[in-house]
Amino acid sequence: MLELKNVSKSFKGLTALLNVSFEVQRGEILGLMGPNGAGKSTLINLMSGFLRPTSGEIIWKGVNIEKLKPYHIVVKGISRTFQQPRVFLNMDIFDNIYVGLLPSNKSGLFKNNNLKERVFEIIKKVSISNAHSTLARDLPHDELRKLEIARAIAADPELLLLDEIVSGLTVEESNEIGEIIRMLNRAGLTIIIIEHVMKFLMNVSQRVVVLDHGEKICEGSPEEISRNPKVLDVYFGKGEEENLA
């Protein structure tokens, strides 16, 4: 339902993405992988409207969204998290999620308690264990990550973009996150995960797109990918032929 057609992005002549095109099916978990500087984050910024592509188009349910502002895109149903955990540090968990809820349901100036109920549902969903009145700045790293997801899904999106969601987490923690992601996906949410941690990606995602130096080098199921020589090159250093040349 989200489709990228030959999207390119260059910063002052330096090309970050070159003619990348792929499609996301409803209800799948798509993994975007590639070494550092492959242009993953640029891609997510393009999809969420923080950057404009230099050329090419991004189509969401048949509508071009590459020119829209971030907050419009959120309302249209694409929500994201950030590479560095980014939450409202001086607000408590409750308010973080509450703010996330606001744009999606436009009711008047007066408070409506069903919003509150939603907040607590979401807290349960992502299983945040701290009290909802804890300030975000006091949270441990994994809770932060959960809170990010919570805030992102609060806007009840149809597509969720997770940017290196497990970076800096222990294996157990990342497995927990992985569970949450699968659960959300079962609930009908389409998800794009960006990672350079291969293992996690392979476990969680159903389909994988591999980027290198801003170009899509291949696409397929985790198994195919893990067998694909190009990918191995990218990850385990280019082979001897380069040294010979």
Binding site: P70, D95, L102, K111, S133, A155
Partner: protein, 318 residues
């Protein structure tokens, strides 16, 4: 976890209304009683000054404390309001209430005028630009005596209300209304959005908040309040002089807000009362007055950077 939930729900449901009620009752009584317990026009006069400063400080707090627009020219809205009233009275002999309203409108227009560049200019540049803007208005007010009355300003403007007590009641209730209205607005979802913009603009956008829209809204509200304050001060002092545009005024407002606590509508009011009374009562120590005054400010900044409210919060935590 469950009981947390319930507790939070109760607070969210009843808390704000309860709070508002407490505020209303407490302050209404306080204001009514105050002139009676101290039958001293001088103190009332200072209280009125404090109220006027408080209004402007609140409006600035809304700008900087809630949407992070570093506008270094609260004096502009205030002064514009004051001069509007001045001109209207001098050239059109308008009814005071009308003058007050128009002053507010002028504040609104100006805040739009200054609010829009804030979406283009960044941080320090915007700050300095606004600073320069107030300097320009100051010089214009000085430099065109035929229109603005020059250094002496516009003199002999009739009072809005006669009698110090009544002025005190009027200004105090003006402040009270503003504080309550803003407090309420901030406890609603709009307030949450504003706060989130202050916290992290990028993230707010990612959370689907049209940041620039809310910035403009906030700055217009601020502009109106400051404009009103200016207009009222012009009626109260029966004159308006170029000082209203002075950098000194701007910084006294900023000082008040910082001392009281940024981003807490109530903080500026406290700061205003504290500093105004300090300033006016330090005449006892004669020539060292300003030294002590600035000493107080330095002390507050160094030892409680979050202002008085911040200090109170700390006390509460420990």
């Amino acid at each position: 976890m469950e009981k947390h939930t319930l507790a939070k729900n109760e607070i969210m449901a009843t808390g704000s209304i309860l709070l508002v009620l407490i505020y209303v009752v407490f302050f209404t009584l306080f204001i009514i009683i105050f002139p009676i317990i101290c039958n001293n026009k001088f103190l009332l006069h200072i209280a009125i000054l404090a109220n006027i400063f408080a209004l402007v400080a609140i409006s600035w707090d809304l700008l900087f404390g809630f949407v992070g627009i570093l506008n270094l020219a609260p004096a502009v809205f205030y002064g514009a309001g004051a001069y509007t009233v001045g001109f209207l009275t001098k050239y059109c002999h308008i009814h005071p209430i009308g003058g007050l309203i128009i002053a507010g409108c002028v504040g609104l227009l100006l805040s739009l005028l200054l609010g829009l560049p804030s979406l283009r200019l960044r941080g320090a540049y915007y700050a300095m630009a606004t600073l320069a803007f107030s300097a320009v208005l100051n010089t214009l007010a000085l430099g065109m005596p035929n229109i603005t009355g020059g250094e002496e300003g516009i003199i002999g403007i009739p009072s809005l209300i006669s009698g110090t007590e009544w002025n005190f009641y009027f200004s105090s209730y003006l402040v009270l209304t503003c504080v309550l209205a803003l407090k309420y607005m901030l406890s609603t979802k709009y307030g949450k959005k504003l706060t989130s913009i202050r916290e992290d603009e990028i993230l707010s956008q990612a959370a689907g908040i049209d940041t620039s829209k809310y910035k403009v809204i906030a700055s217009t509200i601020g502009g109106v309040i400051a404009g009103l304050a200016g207009g009222y001060s012009c009626y109260y002092f029966n004159n308006v002089a170029p000082e209203v545009f002075s950098i000194a005024f701007t910084f006294s407002i900023i000082t008040i807000t910082v001392t009281g606590g940024i981003g807490t509508i109530i903080g500026p009011v406290i700061g205003s009362y504290l500093l105004t009374f300090a300033n006016e009562n330090l005449y006892i120590i004669g020539q060292y007055r300003l030294l002590v005054y600035s000493g107080i400010i330095i002390f507050v900044i160094l030892f409680s950077p979050t202002g008085i409210i911040g200090a109170v919060k700390k006390l509460k935590r420990n």
